[in-house]
């Protein structure tokens, strides 16, 4: 009996190591050093390791210069990293991937295209069947509340509406992961609240994995399953806070005690991550 167990152990171990499942996003020991033109080296990211499961909503918060955008660009496959490894669906990330969607702080719509044409852009680039793409674009635009604005040009719409169109565009090619870089940072507070609720609804409806960068601690908590706090440059992960608020979330949860506690936890880790003298 004993010998059998011993004999079996290495086999199991080897199997476990070989088929060990990667999460959707797996970042291990990521480091990024920029070489400036003057030959100076700037360490933007010292060491980041994180796992994001499929279907999860993760917020990334951190002060300016915490390398949030750097991290996002690396995840987009647009920026090479210095060392460590970034895996997406288990594969090493070697460049941009078509199963990732991006929403920037500004809508970044093409002004010469109508809303519908803008949403169709990724489908055109990727070469998705026109009929399929059109149907999908229309249903996405309906989902974000723009079905009456298909043929409007971006300049004819408000900032909030433009950002909805940008979200629809990011989803049209059905990516598994949606990256959002402070998507509501340029909107007024009221529109921002509305957009937060909309985003949660879209997330629930589409089942996408979302990684959202934000400056706002309440926003990060309100939306996410998990808040990852990045420390100031060279950045590391200062905290990884599980958000155990029930879903579906509603705006009145912001005034609950639990929300307040989570807010305090995230804020505290943010303050700790700031170097001495820069506290406010």
């Amino acid at each position: 009996m004993l010998s059998q167990d011993v004999a079996g152990a290495p086999v199991n171990g080897a199997e476990g190591a070989g088929v060990k499942p990667y999460n959707l996003v797996s970042v291990r020991g990521l480091r990024k050093v920029y070489n400036t033109r003057s030959g100076e080296k700037i360490e933007a990211i010292r060491e980041i390791s994180m796992e994001v499961k499929e279907g999860e909503f993760v917020s990334l918060v951190g002060p300016s210069g915490a390398g949030k955008t750097t991290l996002l660009n690396i995840l987009l496959g647009l920026l090479p990293y210095t060392s460590g490894e970034v895996r997406y669906k288990g594969e090493l990330l070697r460049g941009p991937r078509r199963d990732v969607g991006i929403v920037f702080q500004e809508p970044v719509l093409f002004p010469w295209r109508t809303v519908l044409q803008n949403v169709l852009l990724p489908a055109e680039v990727i070469g998705i069947d026109k009929k399929v793409a059109l149907e999908r674009a229309k249903s996405l635009l309906e989902m974000v509340g723009l079905k009456d604005f298909l043929n409007k040009y971006p300049a004819e719409m408000s900032g909030g509406m433009q950002q909805r169109a940008a979200i629809a565009r990011a989803l049209v090619h059905d990516p598994t992961l949606l990256l959002m870089d402070e998507p509501f940072g340029a909107l007024d507070a009221l529109t921002r609240e509305t957009m937060n609720l909309e985003l949660l609804r879209i997330w629930k409806q589409t089942g996408k994995t979302i990684m959202l960068v934000t400056h706002s601690i309440p926003e990060s908590i309100f939306l996410a399953d998990r808040v990852i706090v990045l420390g100031v440059r060279p950045s590391r992960i200062a905290a990884d806070v599980e958000i155990d608020l029930p879903r579906p979330r509603s705006l009145d949860m912001i005034s609950t005690d639990r929300f307040g506690e989570l807010n305090k936890v995230v804020r505290k880790s943010l303050e700790v991550s700031l170097p001495a003298g820069e506290e406010h």
Binding site: N73, L76, G77, L78, G95, P96, R97, R98, V100, I102, F104, E106, V108, F110, P111, W112, L121, P122, E124, V125, I126, G145, Y153, A155, E156, S158, G160, M161, H173, L190, T191, T194, L197, E198
Partner: protein, 280 residues
């Protein structure tokens, strides 16, 4: 929540910005402009009646009107206008094609940029009008020499604008395209070309005027036909009224050319109109 965001948009339009326009603001532009024109004509006629200058110095508006009428009914004017128009049109097209292709070459290829750009800048500093006599010696008294001079003048504004336009690409729009693994061609046609178009058309509008200027200067220096040679001939004959006829004919021609370029530009780069409006 979707519905709650809609009234926000409606409010932006506002309801009470229609009234409160002063009477003077409501007079159409064309009424003001033609009234001013008539007043100036009247003053001119009055000055002629009072000071009575010889007609070879300055004709009265009535004499000019008669000269215009007799010229308008003389097919000779149309031959001259036709020649100049032909020179300008060919020069405009030649300049546009050359400037666009060289602009493209310079922005697409670093080596071409380093070879071509310094020369173009150096040549630009030469006053093209000053070498018009040389061009006449090389290309003769026919329309070829005028086309050369006119296209030299028209080339630079188009070239400079095309180069600026191809470099004016929005970094986030480019990031979006790259994140979708867009090919070089897709980025070119869906983004860079569209970004360059407004610049191109701004250059074309300037070029239309400069091409006309170039053609006239060429005709001044030496030509058998054209509005320029008509003006010079009238000058040597002390026929000032006919000089004015040439100037008026030229102005009308340039205005039509400029207006048509502008009209085409409005159609092609319609989205720049939105931007102007939103800034106002």
């Amino acid at each position: 929540m979707v519905s709650s965001s809609q009234p926000l948009v409606v409010l932006e339009v506002g309801e009470d910005d229609a009234p409160k326009i002063k009477f003077s603001e409501r007079i159409p532009d064309w009424v003001l402009l033609s009234a001013t024109f008539l007043v100036l004509l009247g003053l001119w006629q009055l000055a002629i009646n009072i000071f009575n200058p010889p007609p070879y110095i300055i004709p009265s508006p009535t004499a000019l009107g008669l000269a215009l009428w007799s010229a308008a009914t003389d097919y000779n004017l149309y031959v001259n206008v036709g020649v100049t128009a032909e020179e300008v049109a060919i020069a405009f097209v030649v300049a546009a094609v050359l400037a666009c292709s060289m602009g493209l070459l310079v922005t697409e290829n670093r080596v071409c940029e380093r070879i071509i750009l310094p020369y173009v800048i150096a040549i630009q500093s030469v006053p093209k009008v000053a070498i018009a006599p040389l061009i006449i010696i090389w290309f003769g008294f026919g329309i070829t020499s005028k086309i050369v001079i006119a296209s030299m003048l028209a080339f630079f504004p188009i070239f400079v604008n095309v180069v600026t336009g191809f470099k004016a690409i929005d970094q986030r729009q480019l990031m979006l395209m790259r994140s979708l693994c867009a090919s070089r061609w897709q980025i070119f046609f869906k983004l860079r070309l569209m970004t360059a178009f407004p610049y191109l058309f701004a250059g074309l509008q300037i070029a239309a005027v400069l091409a006309s200027l170039g053609a006239i200067v060429g005709e001044f220096v030496g030509a058998k036909q054209g509005i320029g040679s008509m003006i010079i001939r009238s000058q040597t004959e002390m026929d000032v009224a006919n000089v004015f006829v040439g100037v008026v004919a030229l102005s009308i021609m340039v205005s039509i050319l400029h207006a048509s370029v502008k009209a085409v530009s409005k159609k092609v780069v319609f989205w720049t109109e939105f931007e102007d409006k939103s800034e106002a």
